[in-house]
């Protein structure tokens, strides 16, 4: 027993020691005090890392949350977005911030203001503006105009018999849209656009539905009937509850239940609006489940709040104040007028701005300020992203400006370029509401600028290098009847019926090397000794330009200004003349460095050679046909310190043969038709494979190579006509008379074949210097076929002249030839018969006949 007591006492002592030991051993224990609320909050703040400034912001925002409620909104989208007169246009409303479960439960009150149907009207108002039969033009006329479309869907009321109303198509509208369960009172609100505060309508809820024409009540009224007078007034079928066939009763359609879409035939000047009634997402302060009944207006312009007041209700023991406004019918009508939408107006969501982008090529063009013939051709092209119009319905207006820097100081040189013939289009007009002159044409989506600008165009920039060119295009869709005056290049004034509202503008700035320097291109010669090869510049190529080409070869040569065409496995040399006063000359090919050393070309790149250091470079054409190279040279003038950049584009092509006539009087390319450009320019087109000649003529032809320098690599070539070998009459020329004299309808077939092969030394150089295997530089056989037709007349088609001539020409073209032949034959026969008959009638009957006749009668 004592033992048990001792154990118990020992346990108590140990337990007390354990409990009290902290209190005894620590001084801080006695610093504790009762914490304040502020201290507790601070403890919490520290514990959870809460920033008091942020909390303060939340609190301040919370104070005005009441004014931040999202009032209902609606947006109208039109299809098409740019309707033409008479075209059916669809307007669809997209409401937002309504709490109604389904958008079909909302009331869409459309109102359509046709062109000229202004409020109040007057003597000049068209009759169709008066829709409700109440005299004068009011907003209700607009509502009726729209509701009639919805109610009847175009049905002709003349076919309806108004002998009684049997269809029970009335509808009682609820406030805030159609609800499955309507257990609350209705509270209509309007939000103040500036403060965001919600005001309750002082006089209770109303609808903005149209009043029935001819003095009837507002549709959707509490009686829920749609009587014979209403049917007649709206033009609905009194024996069909759903005249429009959309599943709604007629009166439900009149109030716009779920009618989010309306279609009508658009006329310029038409405007439309919609008011959507429904339950907002903002709750009222009333002691019930009500949400604010509100309207969304088509432009989301809220009605101005007038006659502000308030009333107080005690709710749950507290006095709650309700701000009110007193809006009358006139206020709402003003609001509806302010929310009219023009389908062509960008504010409705139909884009008025056309997204345009302009690109220009080449990258570093060179202006030839010296000779004025060797400059590059800059091509600027515009593309549109959001226009549904075809190219011919887009009016492009191009202007060109110059500056010494890429940012500012632009000087318009459009007219100067046009006068100098340096633009590919030439219809200079004065832009509307501006003094700016531009090259303007429908469908002119690109424009070419020949950079052969002399001092008279460059003006103050003539001594600057580089010069910056800003090419601007203004585009607009054509559909308006508005006009503006345009001045043609000849100075005459013309009316341009092509002002359009959807428009756009964009530009591109091109850096131009304004120098007389240019990259010359050369073929090369090669010398090889064992594994060592050298190259040197040979003949200059891609340097010719024919302003008025008269042959295929000349036209093709002109294209070399844009991209110099070279053959695969060719060694090309590039050189810039007279570079002694330049330093830091560097060459690149497609961005990669291009060097030339004495090892490669002792003559052109070595010390003591014929060229200045660095002015020459060589490259092997190792790509495939279709690929391009861009050669660029950069240098700095030692005199002025200015940098100069030159570039040249090369395109790899397969060798081709062109066959052309030697004498256009004897043999000519066949006329194949007319090509009409987007700007309306008509160009005659001639075949490059079919030629024509007169009966008994001789075939006089010449062959050229493309590229032209490939001719010197022709190791052999041969002509045949109808399979018979024909010897050259000149260099790659024939003058051949077929053994049998040709007659109309004959055809002779000409064939040219040639083998193009690089000289062996050059092939060896390709191998030694660029590791191009000899198999890669083997010979290429190229051929060309042509047909020569013997005709009676050249196929010249005269399309100019009167419409009658064109009509007859069209007939002669399309009528089968045997019919034409038959008509000619019949007419000839008739003419012969008539002529002989006429002559016969003129000749008097001879006396011999008379005597013979007398004798015959006696017998």
């Amino acid at each position: 027993m004592n033992r048990l007591r001792k154990k118990s006492a020992r346990f108590v002592v140990i337990a007390l020691s354990l409990v009290l030991s902290p209190w005894i051993s620590s001084e801080n224990v006695f610093a504790l005090s009762i914490p304040s609320a502020n201290q507790v909050a601070s403890d919490i703040e520290r514990r959870y890392h809460i920033d008091p400034a942020v909390v303060r912001n939340y609190g301040e925002g919370f104070n005005v949350t009441e004014n931040k409620g999202d009032a209902p909104q609606v947006t109208i989208f039109f299809s098409p977005s740019d309707p033409k007169d008479g075209e059916k246009i669809t307007a669809k409303a997209f409401p937002a911030y309504f709490s109604n479960p389904n958008e079909s439960q909302l009331y869409y009150t459309w109102y359509l203001k046709r062109n000229g149907c202004e409020i109040g009207g007057g003597g000049g108002v068209p009759d169709y503006c008066e829709q409700d039969g109440r005299g004068g033009i009011t907003v209700n006329d607009w509502k009726v105009a729209a509701s009639r479309i919805l109610v009847t869907d175009g049905a002709d009321s003349n076919g309806f018999v108004y002998d009684g109303d049997t269809d029970s198509d009335g509808y009682r509208a609820q406030f805030g849209g159609e609800l499955e369960v309507d257990t609350t009172d209705d509270w209509c609100y309007m939000q103040d656009a500036s403060s965001g505060a919600f005001y309750e309508l002082e006089n209770g809820c109303i609808h903005l539905f149209p009043d029935t024409p001819n003095g009837g009540d507002q549709v959707g009224g509490p009686d829920g009937t749609f009587g014979i007078d209403d049917e007649r007034a709206w033009g609905t079928n009194p024996h069909d509850p759903d005249t429009s066939g959309n599943g709604n009763k007629d009166e439900a359609n009149a109030v716009g239940l779920g009618r989010d879409t309306i279609k009508w035939n658009y006329q310029t000047g038409d405007q439309i609006g919609v008011v959507v009634e429904g339950k907002s997402m903002v709750s009222t302060k009333h002691d019930d489940s009500s949400m604010m009944d509100m309207w969304a207006f088509s432009k989301n312009k809220k009605c101005p709040i007038r006659s502000i007041g308030s009333y107080t209700e005690n709710i749950h023991g507290y006095d709650v104040t309700f701000p009110t406004t007193n809006l009358d019918q006139g206020d709402f009508d003003d609001c509806l007028v302010a929310n009219l939408v023009d389908p062509m107006d960008s504010e409705s969501g139909s884009s008025k701005k056309i997204d345009v982008s302009v690109v220009a090529s080449p990258e570093n063009p060179v202006n030839d300020n010296d000779e004025g013939i060797g400059g590059d051709m800059v091509t600027a092209s515009a593309s549109l992203d959001n226009s549904s119009k075809s190219a011919s319905e887009i009016l492009y207006s191009w202007t060109v400006e110059l500056s010494g820097n890429p940012i500012s100081g632009w000087v318009d040189v459009t007219s100067e370029l046009e006068n100098a013939g340096l633009l590919t289009a030439a219809r200079l007009i004065t832009l509307p509401n501006s003094t700016t002159q531009a090259i303007s044409q429908n469908g002119l989506s690109s424009i070419g600028i020949s950079l052969n600008m002399g001092d008279e165009i460059l003006g103050a920039f003539s001594n600057q290098d580089p010069v910056y060119m800003r090419i601007t295009t203004r585009v607009s869709e054509n559909y308006s009847a508005n006009t503006y005056t345009a001045v043609t290049e000849s100075g005459s004034t013309v009316a341009n019926n092509a002002v359009a509202r959807p428009q756009g503008q964009s530009d591109v700035v091109v850096k131009i090397s304004n120098t007389d320097k240019k990259i010359d291109v050369y073929t090369t010669t090669a010398t090889s000794a064992g594994a060592t090869s050298h190259v040197a510049l040979d003949d200059r190529i891609c340097n010719l330009y024919y302003p008025n080409p008269t042959s295929q070869a000349q036209a093709q040569e002109n294209l070399n200004r844009v991209a110099c065409r070279v053959l695969k496995n060719e060694i090309i040399g590039v050189n810039v003349d007279d570079m002694a006063d330049y330093r830091n000359i560097s060459w690149t090919i497609n961005g990669a460095s291009l060097n030339c050393s004495a090892t490669l070309s002792p003559n052109n790149c070595g010390a003591g050679g014929t060229n200045a250091a660095g002015d020459t470079a060589f490259f092997a054409v190792t790509g495939e046909p279709g690929e391009t190279y861009t050669i660029r040279m950069d240098a700095v003038s030692t005199d002025t310190g200015r940098a100069v950049s030159l570039s040249r584009v090369f395109q790899i092509v397969n060798p081709q043969i062109l066959i052309d006539t030697l004498d256009e009087n004897a043999l000519w390319a066949k006329y194949v038709g007319t090509f009409t450009e987007l700007n309306g320019t008509r160009n005659d087109e001639y075949s490059d494979e079919i030629f024509q000649m007169y009966p008994g003529g001789s075939i006089v032809m010449q062959a050229t190579t493309l590229p032209g320098y490939a001719a010197k690599y022709l190791s052999s070539h041969a002509w045949t006509v109808d399979g018979v070998a024909v010897a050259d009459s000149g260099i790659m020329q024939i003058s051949y008379v077929p053994p049998r004299e040709t007659v109309v309808g004959d055809a002779n077939f000409v064939h040219f074949s040639g083998k193009i092969v690089q000289p062996a030394e050059k092939r060896l150089a390709l191998l030694n210097l660029w590791n191009i295997d000899a198999l890669g530089s083997s010979e290429v056989e190229t051929t060309k076929d042509a047909r020569v037709e013997t005709v009676e007349n050249a196929d010249a088609v005269v399309v100019a002249g009167s419409p009658t001539n064109r009509f007859l020409a069209a007939i002669s073209n399309y009528v089968p030839p045997f019919v034409v032949f038959g008509i000619r034959m019949i007419l000839t026969s008739a003419l012969l018969l008539f002529t002989v008959g006429f002559v016969f009638s003129l000749i008097p009957e001879s006396s011999i006949v008379q005597r013979e006749n007398v004798r015959s009668k006696r017998l």
């Binding site: 000619r824 001879s846 011999i848």
Partner: protein, 221 residues
């Protein structure tokens, strides 16, 4: 001598018919062809119009005479059938001799498909040769000989043949392929002169051409 009396001479008729003949031949030669239409088709269609329909229209509309005035009539049957062999046999004999003695063998030719196919040969001879022969009969024997040159007596046979030969040869030059037609012009002319019917002369001309081809096939190849 013709078995039929010569009609009275009519200067107006003579001049008008002569004008028609010359104008028709010139028009035929100068008529513009369309390279898009087969040349042979154009020639046959034009021949039907100029050598058949135009003379018929002329006789009916301008001269206001019946078609028998240009040979569209029968004749004394015995005379007709007798005159055909009398005219044809000598002509064909001459052609045979030409085939044997001259270059006619090489100069004359027939299309290969005619030579190699009997059905085609028959079709060719019956339809093509017959049709073309008929056109020439109407124009040269009917209009030219019986209507225009009728007062020339037997000379009209040679005159129409000369005109026919000139029509063949002058533009294109002589060719052996024309020789049977020249002979046929003579034989048909004689038959037409004696019978005043182009039906017998047509038969005569067709037989001449047919036999010429047969002889060529038999002895000319």
């Amino acid at each position: 001598m013709s078995a039929f009396p010569l009609p009275a001479f009519n200067m107006r008729r003579f001049l008008a018919t002569g004008l028609l003949v010359v104008a028709t031949l010139v028009s035929f030669r100068l008529f513009p062809t369309d390279p898009r239409v087969n040349g042979s088709v154009q020639a046959i269609v034009l021949g039907i119009a100029f050598f058949l329909l135009l003379p018929m229209a002329y006789v009916l509309v301008v001269l206001k005479e019946p078609l028998p005035s240009i040979g569209f009539s029968g004749s004394v049957r015995k005379l007709g059938f007798l005159s055909v062999p009398i005219a044809v046999v000598p002509i064909v004999s001459i052609w045979y001799m030409l085939l044997q003695m001259t270059d006619a063998k090489t100069g004359y030719s027939l299309p290969a498909f005619i030579q190699s196919s009997f059905p085609f040969f028959v079709l060719y001879e019956v339809f093509l040769v017959g049709t073309i022969a008929f056109l020439y009969e109407v124009f040269f024997r009917g209009l030219v000989m019986l209507s225009w040159l009728t007062r020339s007596g037997i000379m009209s046979v040679f005159l129409q043949a000369a005109l026919f030969i000139a029509f063949l040869v002058v533009p294109d030059g002589f060719g052996w392929e024309y020789v049977p037609m020249m002979f046929a012009a003579l034989s048909s002319g004689f038959v037409a002169y004696h019978t005043r019917s182009i039906y017998y002369s047509w038969f005569s001309g067709w037989v001449t051409l047919f036999l010429a081809d047969v002889l060529f096939l038999l002895f000319g190849r």
